[in-house]
Symmetry: C2
Subunit: 171 residues, 2 copies
């Protein structure tokens, strides 16, 4: 490549958005992923140390907490973004710990509905309060206005992604 060609290329890069423009989406994704991992690990560690629970269990219980009548396993699977087979084992273990109850409704015997027990509700209440505090602490250095902006803009990302999925997925 001659010098003049090189200069031309550089100009084009600058015009198009400067190097970073090229892989912006990739860089955003890597940063989202590492940040999410960091926060997840911290929450996982605290849930384990303070409540003896796991993050997936917490997620599942969160869904049941706001649906006091319980949820079908398939519905739980959608809401937690966890596969059906996985939900089976998850609920199984929570039932063993007395936090969740499984019921088969009269109308349709294909269905299994999971509900929080009283013990489950109590435990989740405590975990949820702590969880919210942990997040506030972890994000304490971030301007609330920025937090708001992020919430909105990540919503836009989620929308875009939802509209460009290859599989049979949709939100």
């Amino acid at each position: 490549m001659t010098e003049s060609e090189s200069a031309t290329v550089d100009l084009e890069i600058i015009v198009q958005g400067t190097q970073e423009g090229k892989k912006l989406e990739l860089r955003l994704w890597l940063r989202m992923l590492s940040t999410t991992k960091l926060i997840s690990q911290e929450i996982r560690r605290r849930l384990r140390n303070e409540f003896g629970a796991t993050l997936p269990q917490f997620d599942l219980m969160a869904q049941l907490y706001r649906e006091r009548d319980g949820l079908r396993l398939g519905e739980l699977s959608k809401r937690t973004m966890v596969t059906n087979g996985n939900v089976t084992g998850l609920v199984e273990r929570l039932e063993t710990d007395g936090l969740v109850l499984r019921v088969t409704p009269d109308g349709d015997r294909r269905v299994t509905v999971a509900k929080l027990t009283a013990k489950g509700e109590t435990l989740f209440g405590a975990m949820a309060a702590a969880h919210e505090g942990w997040l506030r602490d972890m994000m304490a250095d971030v301007d609330p206005a920025i937090v708001s902006e992020l919430w909105r803009d990540i919503g836009a990302v989620k929308s875009s992604v939802s509209n460009h999925l290859s599989g049979a997925d949709f939100d």
Copy 2:
């Protein structure tokens, strides 16, 4: 609770920032988590369908791709944010597939260094190119200026989180 008390509470909520203000960090976290899961699942599906690879394998190979001399397993563990024990199995399977090579350097026999094989480099090159394209596609509806902003602001979140970890973690 009387009606007047109830009204007072409502007013306070509004003054303080309207319901949403209260749990902003929690809401941001939930949205980050679900968005990350969504993107991860899409990438995982495509890696599997088009290359027969898994996301953790892809991540690990990405680190080795930019360090042609290889990396010690402990270093791989830090960079991929995966535990030591996990790296062992991951590298083991990649070695079985002929994508990665394990070497023990002369100087220190405690150490294992993993390197990409020629086959591994070729495969990863193809995966990386596709991967970048998938991300561009998925985020196609998001204004590049927003993507840039998100990259910066999520960096701020990551910083804040890093400074408020309970364990012996730091970045």
